[in-house]
Symmetry: C2
Subunit: 346 residues, 2 copies
């Protein structure tokens, strides 16, 4: 991954940081956001749609905040820099909030939340994304699947990690069902009349090509099950990553002038509120009680957010990362295209 990014013009640091974020996704089992996305980044750099070796500039700052401009560079280096600045500010004054404008896709939001958590901070990460989600009562993609990730140190494994799209599902979940030849349920996608659709092949292509399909906010299509909540969370992410950060928003993200994505990263110092060991001990006690709660008939386990990813990473670190044939072939083709040695895939 690093060699391909270097071949496309990115500097070593940005290439390594980007590869680290992609690898974190592959290790955690989030295959939609791992090396399968490398081509998009490499081709973006090669075509100039993404600026190589972009300088990350500080637009403004206060003791607890900073506004960064990624100058249309890769998202991962900009978001890593934003996380580091937020963590440093939180270390100094208790909290740090850092925005990024003019950025690109930054991979999994959870990477940055975990990075803050590993440094003893509560991390909250938001981004906007290409428009695919309809407002409640609407039937048109007006904003992105805008991810929200929260990480927390708990003295146990990798801590608490919630990494979620604010839509019911992201497009990646449709692709997983397609690969497994499984149907998708009503309540994931609607067409331009607001009617539910389940023909997954058409929907995957049609969402990409903006043929009028929309994903639904978390909570679905009606207020009865809380769709206004997922809608509100998605707009919150868009408002702070767009108008507040000074990036594009809503259906203007990935417009003719480029992605112009925005991110917002918050770091909160645990010790500003509570002795860290006491905090972590109570978190672990909470998780132990949740795991021991009465289970629904037929359920065999209650999970803590982030636990599945941690276990998957342990498995993959030991057994390797399974790639589909399509991804393996694409990585080999991309390596050849970039003039770098083909990856040794087994």
């Amino acid at each position: 991954m690093v060699s391909c990014l270097l071949a496309a013009g990115e500097g070593r640091r940005g290439a390594e940081q980007t590869a680290e974020v992609l690898l974190a996704a592959d290790l955690g089992g989030i295959d939609s956001h791992g090396c399968a996305r490398l081509r998009r980044y490499v081709e973006g750099l090669a075509s100039g749609a993404i600026a190589a070796e972009a300088a990350i500039e500080t637009v403004s700052a206060t003791p607890a905040t900073a506004a960064l401009d990624a100058n249309n560079g890769l998202g991962a280096p900009a978001a890593i820099e934003a996380t580091e600045v937020a963590v440093a500010k939180a270390g100094a004054v208790g909290v740090g909030v850092v925005s990024v404008r003019r950025s690109n896709h930054f991979g999994i939001a959870g990477y940055y939340a975990s990075r803050a958590a590993r440094k003893g901070m509560i991390g909250l990460v938001l981004s906007n994304a290409s428009p695919q989600v309809s407002p409640v009562f609407g039937a048109e993609p007006m904003f992105g699947t805008n991810p929200l990730a929260i990480g927390m140190p708990t003295g146990e494994g990798d801590g608490f990690l919630l990494d979620m799209a604010t839509s019911t599902v992201g497009r990646g979940k449709l692709e997983v069902r397609q690969r497994r030849a499984e149907p998708i349920p009503e309540g994931w996608v609607i067409d331009a009349s607001g009617a539910p659709r389940v023909d997954v092949e058409e929907l995957i292509d049609g969402l990409k090509a903006r043929r009028g399909y929309s994903l639904l906010p978390l909570g679905g299509s009606s207020e009865e099950f809380g769709a206004h909540k997922g809608y509100g969370l998605g707009l919150f992410a868009d408002l702070v990553c767009g108008p507040l950060a000074g990036a594009a928003w809503g259906r203007h993200v990935y417009g003719p002038a480029g992605a112009d994505l925005g991110h917002l990263i918050v770091a909160i110092q645990v010790e500003a509120f509570r002795d860290r060991a006491e905090f972590e001990a109570e978190c672990r006690q909470m998780f132990a009680e949740l795991r021991a709660a009465r289970r629904a008939a037929g359920a065999d386990r209650i999970f803590i957010p982030g636990e599945k990813e941690v276990e998957e990473r342990e498995r993959r670190l030991s057994d390797g990362i399974p790639l589909t044939e399509a991804v393996s072939a694409d990585l080999a083709a991309l390596a050849e295209q970039c003039g770098v040695p083909a990856p040794e895939l087994r």
Copy 2:
């Protein structure tokens, strides 16, 4: 409301602040959190379960944070103080995060988010609550409906306001359906085997009496529609309001030693990132585009979060707040019990 709270021993300032928060709920149409709750507060003060005229103490502070102890006083005065401190810190260093421990029910979370927004800040408010919600794959109430509210100044009406329980619904929604003699849908409540239940009378009583029923996280009972997301958001609120703030958490909230609720209030200064007028103009443009989006068949309007409450407040400020006969009678009885003049209700 003020007279009753004074009669129960609260000081004038705490009584007026509490009444203001209850009134804001009644005006916004959130009847479950308005004057209908006055009895609970008055009886709590009278019995000593809630401490009257409790001093709000600062346990620790940094330039951007403070940890407060409400000393078991009413929730509203403590949360108003926390909001004011968060806003002042955000004004000084860009962000303020203030926790509250040993608190009680604070009314609608949206009140505090709106209060921060009226002062030009982005407000984020979290609280934990009495245990009523089951983890995903569980069948036991292990944490509360833990509200999350977000307010933002937009130069338009009262701005953006999202005020949501992190469960699919709170108990108040069951009570509204009961009053209207309407059925509740499968997907709101489960019994101790994890099976969906819809017998609303039994469920309202049974949830209060902790007879083994649980509300479900936003997203429902399966990961297919994102229940792990609502579950994660509910735990996030519990982790920062419990272990971080130093309050009770999970099923220990409202335990034998008292409520010991926790809150967390975040204020972010808009101008630290963006010119305020530019920010607000873009927010308004986003809302205009959302309102004009293509609508689903049969839908006649797309809403912005908070808009319904603002319109309801305008209606009620002009036409009055409709009270059910049960609430009117209870307020009259409470006034008599407190030895204060009966309210003049029409």
